[in-house]
């Protein structure tokens, strides 16, 4: 056995050398598959252009199948060459001694691999691996959803019940009796066992739903049975079916054959079990998990001949072994334990005659051993299998890898031929190149912008003309001026008589007027300054109108990129899109941002001049003739003095209010000039800057759908879609090269 151990290790090492090649090929075909999906959509798009469709003489569905086959072959191969163990699968119909054989091979007992008489007892198929040091069981549990999708839904499908449950809650709420009553009675009769299983599933829901966590659970090896065996029927109690929560079971244990450490035993699902999709599961297990299969057949009195069901399982094995030889891949193991020698001989003869064409071992190897005899199993089964694999495994590996690569190459050639046909179709319809088209479109957009932006700037210029009157703005100024003036004339809001009366009192307190007149002047000055900021609403409105005009000039072509509740929001969005695009347009973004930076608010534009206007209300001013400081207003502390103070202060206030209004009136011209300057700068940067055209090309290329949303058909769309097809064809060819 020592020699075999070394040889097996060498074989495992050798097969792993192929892993990088297979993985690279897998990655390549995964990419090809994705590109083919895009190409399929692109080809369909090109064929759907209303006025100018282009039909390609290809079958996209065939591409999908071709790529899927290559990927499937590679996936199986990868699973094979990626394995760190030699895996021996144990197959066969129920009640033939599979579990007994597995116990003998692994040294485990009923607690881990349940056996029994009568009904099948193995509910969960385990994968058992040898370890010198570890003895453990790891259970991967279903999640709620995976349980429904992989366990419950297949029963619904077989029975024809809808809707399939997506959660355990759905399963519980499902009215099974009513649904069954609606099914054809014959169908129900034929599927009675399946229906019984579904009933069990629902009946025992509470015994396993708590385990549907999707987690990996470590379980004591000695306590494994209740997780992997069907429960005993106990009258009156709901059976514990926690095995339904187990998705996968891996047992690690020390095998009796210690020389071969990299060894795994795979309990393949039994054929003929009343479980939906039993064949698919069996085949998947054969393809992905095992290097060699022992097909166990126990010739009992009623089971001594090679049956039709036995033959069906050989068919699945032949399908799973792929490029490897069936003779290398499997052996029929006649389980002689407890069997009448007559039956053994009958089976052996039957196999020779029907499978091996009258010559033992011609097509299938046939071994015999008592599955319960551990020593015999060790020598006559495992030892023999390993000796066989030491020789046959490299042969099988090479055949599988070669077949997969060959499959890929064939797929590649098929697809290249298809790509050629597409390109030939493209060549037959003359269309501009992508660059030419982008250039033409960018020139067109540029021309459109020249006209629309120039019209907008022209309007801004018109508003700076001597004869243009911003009536709304001037009316607002007049309204503001009248309001403030009215406030001043009305005793600064207190009423003239009341103000004078109050002033008289305030003058009497110190029996002097300077301090009071100083206070009043300061108050009045500050209040006028505060009230005059009321012009901000119109200034804001003018700024928004400026943005509306700008957005309007861009809208004919860029409407798809102008999103937001206001013009400012639209332009901000556009600037962001331009800046954040994969092919960014920073110059265009900066151009928009410049226009967004317009400032027309009162504080920015008017405050400095307004302060000078309000200087007339300062208590102390410089006499321009003498250079001396003029004292505050001084009046007698009499009612007449108070009235005189009122007249003098209102005169000063009226002067300040009037001149503040003049300043605001003149601001219309300044504001219009400022907006024109911003508009002209925008026009210069957008239309005449050297950076504009390259970025307009990027814009056109990157936002074609947004810029030309109306192009659902016609030659232009056709061109664009053909270019997309060509681009994808090139990508597919590139990926396969």
């Amino acid at each position: 056995m020592g020699g075999i151990h070394d040889r097996i290790e060498e074989v495992l090492q050798a097969r792993r050398a192929a892993l990088p090649v297979i993985e690279a090929e897998l990655a390549r075909w995964t990419e090809v598959q994705a590109l083919l999906a895009d190409l399929t959509a692109a080809v369909e798009d090109a064929a759907q252009v209303e006025d100018d469709p282009v039909a390609f003489d290809v079958d996209p569905a065939e591409w999908g199948r071709t790529a899927a086959e290559a990927l499937a072959a590679l996936a199986v191969t990868r699973a094979r060459v990626g394995r760190h163990t030699v895996n021996i699968g144990v197959s066969g119909r129920a009640r033939n001694g599979k579990s007994t054989l597995l116990q003998s091979l692994s040294g485990l007992d009923d607690e881990q691999i349940p056996t029994g008489k009568g009904q099948p007892v193995t509910a969960v198929r385990s994968r058992i691996f040898h370890s010198d040091t570890t003895r453990s069981a790891q259970l991967t549990l279903h999640s709620d959803r995976s349980f429904c999708a992989e366990v419950a839904a297949p029963y619904f499908r077989v029975l024809g019940l809808v809707p399939e449950p997506r959660t355990v809650h759905d399963l519980r709420r499902f009215d099974l009796p009513a649904a069954v009553a609606a099914l054809p009675p014959r169908h129900v009769e034929e599927n009675r066992p399946v229906l019984a299983r579904l009933d069990e599933l629902r009946e025992s829901l509470d015994t396993y739903r708590g385990f549907l966590t999707g987690e990996v659970l470590g379980v004591d090896v000695e306590d494994l049975r209740r997780w992997v065996a069907y429960p005993d029927r106990t009258a009156g109690a709901v059976p514990d079916r926690r095995y339904l929560a187990v998705r996968d079971a891996v047992i690690t244990s020390r095998f009796p054959v210690q020389e071969v450490t990299s060894l795994g035993l795979i309990d393949l699902p039994g054929l003929g079990e009343m479980v939906p999709n039993a064949e698919e599961h069996h085949l998947a297990g054969l393809e992905n998990d095992v290097d060699f299969v022992l097909v166990v057949k126990r010739p009992a009195d009623t089971n001594a001949m090679w049956s039709k069901e036995d033959q069906a399982s050989l068919g699945l094995i032949a399908q799973a072994c792929g490029a490897a030889s069936v003779r290398d891949f499997m052996t029929i193991l006649v389980n002689t334990g407890g069997c009448d020698p007559v039956n053994i001989a009958a089976l052996t003869d039957d196999i020779r005659d029907r499978l091996n064409e009258g010559l033992d071992g011609r097509n299938y190897q046939v071994w015999a051993a008592d599955a319960a005899d551990r020593d015999a199993v060790a020598d006559d089964v495992l030892g023999r299998a390993l000796a066989h694999l030491a020789v046959a495994l490299p042969r099988m590996d090479a055949a599988v890898v070669e077949a997969a690569m060959s499959r890929c190459e064939q797929s590649r050639l098929d697809l290249l031929a298809q790509m050629d046909r597409i390109l030939a179709t493209v060549r037959s319809v003359a269309r501009p190149t992508a660059f030419e088209e982008v250039q033409t479109r960018a020139d067109g957009v540029h021309d459109e912008l020249v006209l629309s932006v120039n019209a907008w700037v022209g309007e801004l210029r018109r508003r700076t003309g001597d004869t243009f009157e911003d009536v709304e703005y001037l009316e607002r100024v007049e309204q503001l001026r009248e309001e403030i003036r009215g406030w001043a004339m009305d005793g600064f809001g207190a009423g003239r008589a009341a103000w004078i009366e109050r002033a008289h009192l305030e003058l009497l307190k110190p029996d002097a007027s300077a301090s009071y007149s100083t206070k009043v002047l300061n108050d009045v000055r500050n209040e006028i300054a505060r009230r005059i900021t009321g012009i901000d609403d119109v200034l804001s409105q003018r700024r928004e109108e400026f943005w509306q005009g700008l957005a309007g000039s861009l809208r004919p072509r860029l409407a798809g990129l102008l999103r937001g509740p206001t013009a400012e929001a639209e332009l901000t969005h556009l600037a962001g899109v331009l800046r954040d695009a994969p092919d960014a347009c920073p110059h265009l973004a900066e151009t928009i941002e410049l226009a967004l930076d317009v400032r027309l608010d009162y504080r920015t534009r008017l405050l400095p001049q307004m302060r000078r206007v309000l200087d007339v209300l300062r208590p102390e001013t410089i006499d321009p003739l003498t250079g001396r400081i003029r004292p505050p207003l001084v009046v007698k502390t009499t009612p007449e003095g108070a009235e005189s103070l009122f007249v003098q202060i209102t005169d000063l206030a009226r002067s300040a209010i009037y001149h503040a209004g003049v300043l605001l009136e003149e601001e219309t011209q300044t504001m219009a000039s400022a907006l024109l300057a911003y508009g002209e700068q925008f026009e210069d940067m957008l239309i005449r800057s050297g950076s504009s055209m390259p970025e307009l090309r990027r814009l056109v290329d990157g936002f074609r759908d947004e810029l030309w949303p109306e192009e659902r058909s016609g030659p232009t769309t056709s061109t664009a879609r053909i270019q997309r097809v060509v681009g994808l064809v090139k990508a597919v060819v590139g990926a396969m090269s």
């Binding site: 001597d466 009157e469 003739l625 003098q648 005169d651 000063l652 003049v662 009136e665």
Partner: protein, 389 residues
């Protein structure tokens, strides 16, 4: 008895611009310039009454501390102002000036036809304009400077009566062309300029803007005059004299009020006194009289020989001369050569009397020369003609 001839001045400008105020300011400023001379400026009675009323109103306003420009004048009638420089002690030795202000509105024949007085005076007015050596154009500076919006600016021409001014200007220019040797002076006189200058107690710095606006608005007038007098020797002298008629008032607010049914808004300016107490400080008004004196002096030299000959005229010739229509030269000879006195008194005058009159006349001449030679207010600019600056 026929009035003695006088030097004529045509005044043209819209009503309420402040012509009486201007005249008051001219008299006041001239009076200051004549300080220390034996010469006085005087008015005939109607002029005196108007000026006195105006001064009284102003004094009252100063007392009250409330200035109401609208209350200080403005009538829609023909105003004739007679003022004269005369030697102290002898009212007859004088240089008389006759300023005629014919309402601009009446320049329109239809409008004029509504008033019989206007129709009757019209030929006299045309004759006066033709003979005037000076066209005095008072301008409301506030209308020019306080128009900030397009519609306000559009109303300025109408409010300043520019069409009328240009019409009269054209007639005056034709008269000057017909008398090519006589003086020809246009004085563009923006009034109530206190707010726009910083040299008379205010904080304004808008003198350049005012000048520009006057040039813009009155550019067509000066063009018309230049075109009409292109063939005239020496051209026409155009003087720009922005005048503070009070010095102590300043525009406080201007109101442009829309008038229903009229395209033009109505303009109303409100002024306030400045300074504590406010003091009248007229600026540049004396320029009008200085320019008149300058014209007289300029003509005097040329008329010297004729004046000498006139001194030898006989009584009979004198009586006949007095009855003649006098032009500029006639007026010059009549008043400044001594002819006037002889004409009035020559029949009975003795040799001593003639010597005394000659002395007074010398003093008047001296004062006239002094007035003409005093440096002009720094605001004043000569835009065309001799001594341009």
């Amino acid at each position: 008895m026929t009035d003695p001839p006088s030097f004529r001045v045509a005044v043209v400008g819209p009503s309420r611009v402040g012509k009486t105020t201007l005249l008051t300011a001219v008299l006041s400023d001239t009076d200051e310039l004549l300080a220390g001379t034996p010469v006085t400026i005087s008015m005939d009675e109607p002029t005196q009454n108007r000026v006195r009323q105006q001064q009284k109103d102003l004094r009252w306003a100063l007392e009250m501390g409330e200035f109401n420009a609208a209350a200080l004048g403005g009538t829609q009638e023909i105003n004739r102002y007679h003022v004269a420089l005369h030697a102290d002690g002898d009212e007859s030795v004088q240089i008389p000036f006759d300023l005629l202000d014919y309402p601009g509105a009446w320049l329109d024949p239809d409008e004029r036809a509504r008033y019989s007085h206007a129709v009757a005076e019209w030929p006299n007015y045309l004759d006066h304009v033709r003979q005037s050596i000076m066209l005095l154009v008072p301008i409301d500076a506030a209308v020019l400077m306080e128009a900030h919006t397009p519609s306000q600016r559009a109303a300025v021409g109408e409010l300043l009566g520019l069409l009328d001014v240009e019409d009269v200007g054209k007639r005056w220019a034709k008269g000057r062309l017909a008398n090519p040797d006589e003086p020809a002076v246009v004085v563009l006189a923006p009034l109530k300029c206190e707010k726009y200058f910083g040299d008379n107690g205010g904080h304004g710095h808008d003198e350049a803007k005012l000048r520009t606006r006057v040039r813009e608005r009155y550019g067509r007038l000066t063009e018309i005059i230049a075109r009409e007098t292109a063939e005239r020797r020496g051209g026409v002298r155009i003087v720009y004299a922005p005048i503070d008629t009070y010095g102590c008032v300043e525009l406080m607010e201007a109101r442009w009020t829309p008038v229903p049914g009229q395209p033009q808004p109505e303009f109303e300016a409100h002024y306030r006194f400045r300074g504590d107490p406010p003091q009248i400080r007229v600026r540049a008004a004396g320029t009008v009289m200085q320019e008149l004196c300058r014209s007289v002096i300029a003509g005097q030299a040329e008329a010297e020989a004729a004046a000498h000959r006139a001194h030898q005229q006989s009584y009979d010739t004198g009586v006949a001369r007095k009855a003649e229509a006098k032009g500029f030269w006639g007026t010059l000879a009549y008043h400044l050569s001594g002819e006037s006195r002889e004409v009035n008194q020559g029949i009975e005058a003795s040799a001593e009397e003639i010597a005394r009159i000659a002395l007074r006349r010398g003093q008047l001449n001296g004062a006239t020369h002094k007035l003409a030679s005093v440096p002009y207010d720094p605001r004043v600019e000569i835009w065309s003609g001799e001594d341009r600056r």
